[in-house]
């Protein structure tokens, strides 16, 4: 329960805390003590060095995700242009082979602004909530959102420029997103307009792909420029309420990334690549209060850490299958 609440606290903007002395399980305490032994530490450093000398590039999960994002969005486009009626609509709301689906955040804006919830929309919300709950909540971001794909390339560009010393990341406080979430909820309620939809690059991109480009794409370009030159992953990390909505949805998902303290060398490669590094704070040396920990709430299940980890300390798992899957 404590970890459950802590996971929400961190998602909403709180800093991960160093576990107290009594928070460690006996196994974890023993393992940390073992890792602190000089000969073990020396061996660990030697292993890190060796691995840095022979870097292996793994893009397995990235490729799978990119294919997923492209196929899902292409299905919308193809369904319309070739009239196959597989997925009608856009990412905000659609009908998949006749069955209603609605983006939870877009639907929330509509319900708050309109103050009426019709049955079709309710069906759409419930279906989508269950669907994304199963595969991990924010997996919407990493596996479906078209803006995420663009932002990933913008991020690569940002990191490349940063390495050359041309740009610097200007992080914001992560609580910004939580405050904005409340503001956009209140704005929809008070003004009676779906205010957030006006700046949502997800809706804009999805509609642009399906119905044709418009001026609104300039807004998406502005966001990408900010991400390239000023703040790394500006939108996804600090602004987007859609991510927070699905973060809540995915808290108890069966599909999780699992951390295993046994295998971890604590070199921090996962933290360097993670969109939401606060969720894998336990990979820092001495921070894990248990040997096996499920990465929680805010994780997008993007698999970057899984790819990056050379020792398999972070892996995809399906909860409740006893490690069979």
């Amino acid at each position: 329960m404590k970890r459950f609440l802590d996971s929400f606290r961190i998602m909403l903007g709180g800093e991960p805390r160093r576990p107290g002395k009594d928070d460690f399980t006996p196994e974890a305490r023993e393992l940390h003590a073992y890792k602190r032994r000089p000969e073990v530490a020396k061996k660990r450093i030697a292993m890190i060095r060796e691995e840095q000398e022979n870097p292996v590039l793994v893009i397995k999960w990235r490729v799978r995700r990119w294919i997923s994002i492209i196929i899902i969005n292409l299905l919308f486009v193809v369904s319309f242009w070739y009239d196959v009626q597989l997925i009608e609509g856009a990412l905000t709301a659609s009908r998949v082979v006749g069955f209603h689906m609605a983006d939870v955040n877009a639907a929330l804006q509509v319900v708050l602004a309109y103050k009426v919830l019709v049955l079709n929309l309710l069906i759409g919300i419930v279906t989508v909530t269950i669907m994304w709950w199963i595969v991990g909540g924010r997996s919407f971001c990493a596996w479906c959102c078209p803006y995420h794909l663009l932002a990933e390339f913008a991020e690569e560009l940002h990191l490349w420029l940063a390495k050359k010393g041309l740009v610097k990341d200007h992080p914001l406080h992560r609580g910004t997103r939580s405050v904005l979430y409340v503001i956009f909820v209140l704005l929809a309620l008070v003004t009676g307009y779906t205010v957030f939809e006006t700046i949502s690059p997800v809706g804009i991109l999805s509609r642009a792909l399906i119905y044709g480009a418009g001026v609104s794409l300039l807004w998406v370009a502005v966001l990408l420029l900010i991400e390239i030159f000023y703040t790394r992953r500006f939108w996804c990390r600090y602004i987007c309420p859609i991510g927070l909505t699905y973060g809540f949805v995915g808290k108890t998902s069966p599909v999780v990334v699992q951390y295993n303290l046994n295998h971890c060398l604590h070199e921090g490669k996962c933290i360097d690549v993670c969109l939401v590094p606060h969720v894998i704070d336990m990979t820092r040396k001495g921070r894990a209060d248990d040997v096996i920990i499920n990465v929680s709430a805010d994780c997008t299940r993007c698999g970057r850490c899984v790819e990056e980890c050379p020792t398999g300390a972070l892996t995809f798992k399906i909860r409740g299958t006893g490690g069979l899957l």
Binding site: A90, T92, A106, G124, L172, T194
Partner: protein
């Protein structure tokens, strides 16, 4: 004044930046108010649309109505419409709703009820109402006929002609007319008794007629699209007080 450590200064800068960025995001989204309040975009909405304010709130901006429209009359607004971005409208002069669906497909497709599901018969729809805005240019009022293509050979607009194929639309450019007295707006009106031609004098030899719009008009815009005069003599008045379910 107490000197701040570097860490504290960094924290302050981060907080300040967060305020600015958050403020900018909210500010940008609220810019959507400008076109709405100033009524920049005076749009003809699809059949069944709720009153403008409620329509903007209830529409989830998915475009399912766009996808099902048999004559491709519905388009989604761009960012210049502010809060109306992604909300469907019809540019009747380019492509009107030909109102030939048994039940308007767009209404059936709408997942949020922005296109009201409370409509029992399609004749209850009120998108707007037709108005003769340039009476002096009207061919009928000059006693003139019309021969040829209503909107020229390049016009891409579609219409489901009852005498061609009730179910599949064809291009207006593929349907030439030869009328002794122009009555296109009346001839192509999909609604019974919505518009008629009235003589302009008691003289039986006076060929001049004037189109008169009656109560049943749903405001679909078919007459606006078919009017052969450029610019059109007849347009849709819409977004007036009382849209769906009320008389204008």
């Amino acid at each position: 004044m107490k000197k701040l450590s570097k860490r504290q200064r960094d924290q302050r800068r981060t907080l300040l930046l967060s305020f600015l960025a958050g403020g900018a995001a909210v500010g940008a989204s609220l810019l959507g108010y400008v076109p709405v309040l100033r009524d920049f975009a005076h749009r003809l909405r699809p059949p069944g649309a709720l009153k403008e304010k409620l329509f903007l709130s209830s529409c989830i901006k998915c475009g399912q109505c766009v996808q099902v429209c048999p004559v491709e009359a519905i388009v989604l607004a761009d960012m210049s419409d502010g809060f109306g971005m992604g909300v469907p409208y019809i540019d009747a002069r380019k492509q009107a709703c030909d109102f030939a669906c048994d039940t308007p497909q767009c209404i059936l497709a709408c997942p949020t009820g922005a296109l009201s599901h409370d409509i029992n018969k399609k004749e209850e729809v009120r998108m707007g109402v037709a108005r003769l805005v340039r009476p002096d240019a009207c061919l009928a009022r000059q006693g003139k006929g019309f021969k040829g293509l209503a909107r020229g050979a390049d016009f891409p607009g579609l219409h489901r002609y009852m005498d061609v194929d009730r179910w599949s639309p064809i291009k207006i450019a593929d349907y030439p007319y030869d009328l002794e007295s122009c009555d296109l707006c009346v001839r192509e009106c999909p609604i019974k008794d919505a518009i008629s031609m009235q003589p302009m004098s008691d003289d039986p030899d006076d060929k001049r007629r004037t189109p008169v719009v009656h109560d049943p008009c749903v405001g679909c815009g078919m007459c606006e699209m078919i009017c052969p005069v450029e610019p059109t003599c007849i347009t849709m008045e819409h977004n007036e007080p009382g849209m769906q379910g009320e008389r204008i």
